[in-house]
Amino acid sequence: MGQILYHLGAKLSKPVLEITDLKKTYSISGTRALDGATLAFYSGEIASLLGENGAGKTTLMKAIVGIEKPDSGSMLLQGEKYIPLGPYSALEKGIGMVPQSLKVISQLTVFENLLLGFRSNWPGRTIKHFKEKIEEVMQRYRLQLPLDMKVELLSTGQRQKLEVLRILQNSPGIIIFDEPTTLISETDKGELFETFRRFKAEGKTVLFITHKLYEAYSVSDRIYVIRSGVIIGRYKRDETSVEELHDLVSGEETRPDRVQLSSAGEVVLRVEELGIEGSVEGEEAVKETSFEVRRGELLAISGVPGNGQEELLEGIFGMRKILSGRVLLDGKDVTNVPPRNLRKLGLAALPSDRDGAASCKNATIKDNLVIHKVADGGWIVDDRGLDAFARSLLSDYGVLYGSIFDPASSLSGGNLQKLLLSREISSEPRALLLGEPSRGLDVKHLHILRTVLARIKEEMAVVVFTADLEEALKVGDRIIVMSEGRIVFNAVNRPGLSKHMIGKLILKATGERQ
């Protein structure tokens, strides 16, 4: 029934979902996340919602699926009044959302996860019936996953597919993707967009939330630009250009550029023949890895996620066991030294595991900022001094927040990112390891990040771990690419070096080794 309506809708080109004047203010922090957003979505279209961190994208989507209740405004689904009570009820009405952070149960198998996600879990049906049904969906959208595999063994890209399948099996008419491209590799991205197009061909609506201009531009039929909770731009794809969107999204003109220092200083951090333990005991995630970083030189370590970059950072910073080789900080052996002592010696790091290690979401913003300062010193905590320190740091880095006593989970992804960066930089280390510093940042903040990186590398050795090779090329003075735990490319970033060239060089190098 729903299907027919959608097709009909496409012909008459009446919107499937109409949103009028939606407003939402968060009561805890007083943040006005939506300030009268009005927009419409059509069937058989891919629509993007483009905006900076904290522009209100996620809030808008949460309102559509009923996770957040808007203060005012109305929504019409196929011309009828639509008041969602939660993701479950939204799904019943044909709207499904793939969330930003993936919510799958890693101890269960793929099939079990999917079974849990079935909207109508009729008792009395056999396992076989469900398996057939799921396989049919996988066939139809060419999203293949091993059904009996434990989810913890899946890559991030595969987990995302699982999330998508979980929504798809309930055949919704509108599918919302909240920042789906932040965590996955280029190949997975390509497949994801292919899936988008398949939905479109079926007359469904895809709602793609992103802060990445090029992605939004290349895949969408319709683009909405949101800023400060208001829709400030409505375009069909052919009516606009990337440049125009860029200016609109950031609200100012920015020009990304790499500041190169003329001279690099002394070697600060040196890694020799490092072998680091993986998540499974005894398995080596990083093998025979050696490099050095100088003050004034920014080293960018890139590669497809899951090839040892994360483990390398955690190993150097004492959070993971080093099995062989050594780490030298200012010539001093600091192999397997706990973070506590490394921090004293002048090493700081930001692990890419944001929720698990780099931040404590259920602690206050202040606690997240001052923890280093509290780890050592006298008996009594100087609360007033720490409050002032936290406030000044937050304003220096332009973090948008309600109160420093709000939980860190009240911050948007980009703002949390800025908070964490400010914390690490404020400890004025000799060497700084940054895992995915650009993840989740929009154009404007990316630019700020690059400026900050250029500034701090004068005083310290900086290593940036990023899965985005383009980003590595933009910020790095030296580029290292890792594959299967080994360094497969290590060279100075000279003008003219491109993603394509590095790819060819890597292929050549690995070919020679074999």
Partner: protein
């Protein structure tokens, strides 16, 4: 913020629901429900004797509640409190018997409390070391250790320290100068209540104002984050369990010094488990432990009085306590809207 959120209305709502459940039970089980209700809910306040006993009963519960809170704060589980309370009572009493007639009353009491503290702290410290050195789950090790300790303490009560002439399963009595003065005679209330409340205030100050307390709270919220940020999490875990064990032990000795004057077999049974329930209601906030313990003591004495004055069994209190456990652990049962607004 933790300081404020601990005071939210949720805990009160839980208590109110538990009381309502108690009321329903009393009505169902009694032939004279009106009298029984009054006996259960009001008579604890009706005279000095009942009210004093209520307060007296809350004294050890506050201490075990604090003991559980500090372990929970750093995300550790001290399930060995039953044994620690009992062991602390024995250790402290043994010290008192040895010192009898040799030192002044104040010094004697002080020494007994310290010795008792160290006994329990050592017991919990063993679990902590097993956890930090060998990765043994403290939940299991503390529980097993505690079960063993109970039997060992029983041996000392029946054997070397037994008060033979009395024929009781109890130790020799402490001299009078090693006892707390009564506060509200003829009830059992004693000056140990000052000790318990002071302990709560000190623990609050420790957790929310000192560096080590801050580390404990962060470690409890996210151990990996704390470690990464430069906290020696193993040390934090050790000290939190050590303090937890020590505090649990003082619950035993305070009861001995204040009420019994000797360790009787099984006298402290239930203090440890109830401490966990109290910490859950108080949401690990030391200052909230005081009212939570009072509430627990109120239910307990209400049930006892009701069984004397009306035909209700003391088990009703146990059922009401079980209801609280249920409600506290099943957070999802209570609609968020009920208590969320208090945050703002």
């Amino acid at each position: 913020m933790t300081r404020r959120s601990a005071m939210n209305g949720r805990s009160f709502l839980v208590m109110a629901l538990a009381l309502a459940a108690g009321l329903v039970l009393v009505f169902l089980m009694s032939e004279e429900p009106f009298n029984a209700t009054i006996a259960f809910f009001l008579s604890p306040f009706s005279n000095r004797f009942y009210f004093g006993n209520l307060l007296a009963y809350s004294i050890p519960l506050m201490l075990t509640g604090l003991a559980a809170s500090i372990a929970f704060t750093s995300s550790c589980f001290n399930l060995g409190m039953e044994g620690q309370v009992y062991l602390g009572a024995l250790g402290g009493t043994a010290a008192g018997i040895l010192l009898a007639g040799k030192v002044s009353g104040a010094l004697g009491i002080f020494t007994m409390i310290i010795v008792s503290f160290l006994f329990g702290a050592t017991a919990a410290g063993i679990s902590a070391l097993l956890k930090t050195r060998l990765g043994v789950n403290e939940l299991i090790s503390s529980l097993l250790l505690s079960n063993g300790l109970v039997i060992i303490v029983d041996y000392f009560i029946e054997g070397p320290l037994n008060d033979r002439p009395s024929g009781l399963a109890a130790t020799v009595t402490l001299p009078d100068e090693f006892r707390f003065g009564g506060l509200m005679s003829p009830s059992y209330l004693h000056s140990g209540i000052i000790f318990s409340i002071t302990a709560a205030v000190i623990l609050w100050f420790f957790l929310f104002r000192t560096r080590e307390g801050f580390k404990m709270r962060i470690t409890g919220k996210n151990r990996r984050f704390a470690y990464y940020s430069g906290v020696d999490t193993k040390k934090v875990i050790f000290w939190s369990l050590f303090l937890s064990g020590g505090l649990a032990s003082t619950a035993g000795i305070i009861d001995v010094i204040g009420i019994h004057g000797r360790v009787m077999r099984g006298f402290s049974s239930g203090y440890g488990w109830n401490g966990i329930a109290i910490a859950l209601i108080a949401r690990n906030h030391p200052l909230m432990v005081v009212p939570a313990a009072l509430f627990f003591a109120y239910l307990e004495s209400g049930a006892q009085i009701a069984s004397l004055e009306a035909n209700i069994t003391p088990e009703v209190a146990k059922i009401v306590q079980a209801v609280i456990f249920f409600l506290v652990t099943a957070e999802a049962l209570i609609p968020r809207a009920f208590w969320r607004k208090r945050y703002v």
